[in-house]
Every structure is written in C-alpha cells, then in structure tokens.
C-alpha cells in the first residue's frame, strides 16, 4: 500500500486551509459568540430549575460539555455534503472520478487537511481555555489517551454519514433540503448541541441506538471522565468501532450502487 498519496493530499489540504486565515478567524470568533450565547442560555435554564443538578449534571458540567461539543463540532464538521453536491451539479465530479484513487478516499483526504488545521485553531485553544478557567476540570490521564482513537472514529463515522448523504445527491438536484435535514438530525442526536443526559428517557434510548452519538457524545464523554478504567471505556470504543465498520461497508455499497446513476443515467 502506498501511503504517499494520502499524506500528500493531507499536506495540500493543510496548506490550502492555512491560506484561508480569514475563515479560520471567523470560525474562531463565531465559536466564541456561540459559547457566549449558550452560557447565558444554560444559566437561564439552571436559574429556572428548582435544583442545582439537572439531568445529573451541574451547571459547570453542562457548560464544559456544551462548549467542548461546539468546538468539537467546529473542528469535525467538514461540509462534505456541499462539496459532493456542488461537484455533482457542476460536473467537476467527472474529474474526481478519473483519479487513480477511490472517490471516497480522494474526497476524504482532500478535506482532511482542514480537520488538521481546525483541530489546532479551534479545538485545542478551547480546550486550554476551559482547563484554565475551570482550574483543571479535565484530567490529564487515560481519558486523553482514549480520547484520541475515539475522536478519530468520530471523524470516520461523521464522514460516512456525510458521504451517504452526498451519495443521495447523485439522485436529486436539491442538496440543500437533504443537507438541512441531516444537519438537524446529527446536531440533535449526536449530543453536539444538547447533552444526551437532558433527553427524556425514550429519546435518550433512541439516541444511544443510533450511530450519531458516537460522533460527538462518545469522545466528549470519554474526555470528561476521571481516570476511566478499561472496562468503562472499552464498550464505548467497541460500539464506535462497530459503527465505523458497519457504516463504511454500507456507504461503500450504497455509493457503488448510486454511482451507476451517474455512469448510466448521467446524473
């Protein structure tokens, strides 16, 4: 196997995203504004509650969770669906299809550089700020070690879902509606906006049976654990692994069927 193509795409992606310093800045400040809004929102929610603990979480717990969730979202959300949809509509997909690489790998690694840059420009600063402000609410232990494979699998699962939705774009011309629907579902069920602990029992149980919570909720929960034991983390990691494998198989198959829509019907 030749890894050079992947590292080379990664490298180009990093350089390209560094070129858009302004958009990194916008992302950074946009995230700050968002954090300010949710701070007041959750303070209001807690102020109106008769108890200090809601859904098993204190105000500080919740705030740390939602702030990290939003920065994790800014770091991991790649807007692949738009990319795929646009390249289907403009016909640029023809150029990408005739690369000597599988299309899904080509698209992923072309965008992976942005992930890399976002990690350092959005997630890491937020993490450090939280650590300082809360005077060490996040452990520097095994939780960080487990967080790494967990967040990587989160990225893979997220990509698979985007790639699946992108494949649907091959059948329809309206990416916008489909993408909005996907965004809403993912934002809600992944724990990216509201901690799953706040969901009613029924909804919570549904969320835990769907792949979305493996994207943001699992890595975040692991990150916020205090010296977690293997038996605590392993089931979560294995569930993520299951979703990675299952979704990769499923979306590859779906792509294989869908791409015939382009090659046979011309999109």
């Amino acid at each position: 196997m030749n890894l050079k193509k992947y590292t080379s795409l990664l490298r180009a992606g990093i350089m390209e995203s560094l070129n858009y310093r302004l958009s990194a800045l916008v992302l950074f400040f946009g995230n700050l504004v968002y954090i300010a809004i949710i701070y007041y929102l959750w303070r209001a929610i807690y102020a109106s509650s008769p108890t200090d603990v809601v859904g098993g979480m204190t105000f500080t717990d919740t705030l740390i969770y939602v702030v990290l969730a939003s920065s994790l979202f800014s770091f991991m959300e790649m807007y692949f669906v738009w990319d795929i949809g646009r390249s289907v509509q403009s016909g640029k997909i023809a150029l990408d299809l005739i690369k000597p690489m599988a299309y899904r790998d080509y698209v992923f690694w072309s965008c992976a550089g942005t992930l890399f840059t976002n990690f350092f420009s959005v997630f890491l600063p937020t993490f450090i700020v939280i650590e300082i402000v809360t005077k060490g609410a996040i452990d520097f232990g095994m939780n960080l070690v487990w967080f790494i494979p967990s967040v990587i699998m989160g990225v893979v699962i997220n990509y698979n879902i985007d790639f699946f939705v992108g494949s649907i774009c091959l059948y329809t011309e309206s990416i916008w509606g489909i993408n909005m629907m996907k965004q809403v579902i993912v934002l809600l069920f992944s724990g990216a906006t509201i901690p799953l602990a706040f969901f009613p029992d029924k909804l919570q149980s549904i969320a835990y049976h769907l792949p979305f919570q493996s994207i943001y909720n699992t890595p975040l929960s692991i990150l916020l654990m205090h010296s977690p034991s293997v038996s605590q983390v392993l089931p979560m990691i294995l569930l993520q692994l299951f979703w990675c494998v299952a979704l990769t198989l499923f979306t590859s198959l779906f792509w294989f069927i869908s791409i015939r829509q382009v090659t046979v019907n011309g999109g």
Partner: protein
C-alpha cells in the same frame, strides 16, 4: 501495425431525463414522477484512433462530443456498443484507465485553488506515482516550452484564465498519459493565448507521442493541430477523414460580412438576387455571405454589392467550423 489505442464500435449513449413540470407544485410532483424521456446523445459511433494522432472532434453545441469523451474516460457507461481504451473497457476499470489518460474539461479546473501550481503538480506526482526522474524530466521539458518560472509559484486563483488553462493542460500531461482528452480547452481565451496553447499541445504531442482528442469550436485550433477530424451532430457521425481532404472541399470558402444601414432585409433580397447560389444570413445589421472563391472572388462580390448597396463596414473571415459543419450537414460534400 500496432493496435489502435482507442477502439470504438457502434457506441450509443442514451440519457433518461425527467420531464420537469412548472412551478412549486410541479417541482413537488417531480419528486415522484416517472415521466421520463430518452435523449440519445451519442448514436452509433465507430472509430479507431492510433497512438500519436491528434484528432479534432467537432460538432455544434449538444452534438454529443463531451458525452463521447466521458465514455472514453470511463465516467459514463455506453448504453450499447463496445469501447476499448488502451485495451481495457474504461468504465469497468476506471482507476486503471485513469493512469493512462489525462483530461481537461474547459473551464473546470483540477488544480488547488489557493496553492501555487507547483503544489498541485507535486500532488499529482504522488497520486499518479510518477517516478522522480520522469517527473523532473517532464518539468524541465515544460520549462523549455512555457514560462514556468512565472507559473509554478503563482497561486492558481491569481492566474488569468489563459494561464490557468495552460496549467490545467500541463497538469493533464504530467503523468505522461497515452491519451489526453481536451474538451474545449481554448474557450474564452484571447488570440495570443490560444496560439501559445496550440504550440504547447503540439510540442507535447511530438515529444511524448501522446494521442490527443480535441473538441473545439475554433477553426484556428483545428488548422493548427489536427490532421484528422471527426464531425458529429445530433449524436451521429457525419464525417471522419483527413483535414486535407476537408480543406479540398472548403479551403476556397470565405465568409464576407458587410454592415449596411437602412433596410437590411431589402438589401439582403438584392444580394440574393445578384448571387442566388450563395448562402446568406443577417444578424444585427450585418449580412453574412458565404463565398466560394473558386467560383467568384470575394472582392468581386463586394464590388458588385457596393454598386447597389451602401456598405458601412466590411469583414472577411475564413470559413468557420460551424459553417463547415453546417455544409457537411447539409450534404455539400459532393
């Protein structure tokens, strides 16, 4: 003789197109509609192309040129017929086929927008696994035919359309493919850039013996590059022969355009009366007359017209591709 690099036998391509309805309600109904119509974009085309040939693939808009190219590149699957490129069936072996082909779709770029051109080249080197020596050799060859110093370190988004097109063509040739497809590469370029690009294509073809399939609406491109031309319209092959052969028929044609004031249609009728054999057209005060110089000289036609019509402006042009195609389509091939 060596096997032809492109072998096409009776290929046809049909698209299933949804009949769209009007309005919001129609749009909603379209979602569930099964009301399709079949568009036959390519209709029973056959041809063989040898290694090293430059073939002009011509036809009016919507003739089916791009569709044929996409089938050769493996992006589209023919509805029927056989197609072999480098001995493999392109759509069945897309990744394998891609190593041996390069493609430029005019006005769509495969280059990385924010990065200097050299970065896109390095990326292509790694993706196509071009050996280092070959890559270096190609770059120094590029340096000998184009102003690479100016291009390589310039971010693609800062390039002019011409520079970008040039870069895209160089990128398509970089992995030394056996065949390069150029789909309207010179569209929108000025005269000097067109000349530069023609020169470039010609030297690449000579040096690497690359087969080039070129679609264009510019007769200048065809004159400069193509020994052989294939013409299609409505998906059907109309003509496949040497350029010289075609010129034998149309080389003596010129287009005479005159601008007149006053009653254009009246003047047109007068000209048609004087030269009943010549094809004429009008557009925004201009009258276009297709003159066969073997029968009557352009100047003679002009002088005759000037006796009865006040001419304000004159242009004389070589016969355009469109005119040639139209004449072929009208069955003027004798």
């Amino acid at each position: 003789m060596e096997e032809a690099v492109i072998q096409i036998k009776n290929i046809t391509k049909e698209f299933k197109v949804l009949n769209h309805r009007e309005g919001v309600k129609g749009g909603l109904m379209d979602l569930f509609s099964r009301d399709y119509r079949i568009v036959r974009a390519v209709d029973d085309i056959s041809m063989n192309v040898e290694q090293g040939e430059i073939v002009g693939y011509l036809g009016p808009n919507g003739a089916g040129k791009s569709t044929t190219i996409k089938m050769m590149a493996g992006v589209l699957e023919p509805t029927s017929g056989e197609i072999l490129v480098n001995g493999v069936i392109p759509y069945k072996n897309r990744a394998g086929n891609s190593q041996h082909i390069g493609v430029v779709f005019g006005q769509r770029s495969q280059l990385w927008w924010a990065l200097p051109l050299i970065e896109s080249f390095k990326l292509l080197r790694d993706i196509y696994q071009i050996p280092k020596a070959e890559y270096e050799e190609m770059l120094s060859f590029y340096a000998s035919i184009a102003d690479m110093e100016n291009l390589l370190h310039k971010p693609v988004r800062q390039m002019s359309l011409g520079q970008r097109t040039l870069s895209d063509i160089l990128a398509a040739f970089l992995h030394n493919p056996k065949i390069v497809f150029l789909d309207e590469p010179t569209i929108g370029l000025d005269v000097s850039m067109k000349a530069k690009i023609r020169e470039l294509i010609l030297s690449l073809n000579e040096k690497k013996h690359t087969t080039v399939i070129l679609t264009t609406h510019d007769m200048g491109d065809v004159d400069a590059l193509c020994r052989r031309i294939v013409i299609i319209d409505h998906g059907k092959m109309l003509y496949d022969n040497d350029m010289d052969h075609l010129k034998g028929f149309f080389g003596s044609y010129r287009t005479l355009k005159i601008r007149v004031s006053g009653d254009v249609n009246g003047h047109l009728a007068e000209i048609q009366r004087q030269f009943p054999d010549m094809r004429t057209e009008t557009e925004e005060g201009w009258i276009t007359i297709l003159v066969d110089e073997e029968k009557t000289g352009v100047m003679k036609v002009l002088n005759t017209i000037q006796e009865s019509v006040k001419v304000r402006d004159v242009q004389i042009e070589e016969i355009s591709t469109e005119d040639v195609i139209r004449k072929i389509y009208e069955g003027d091939m004798g």
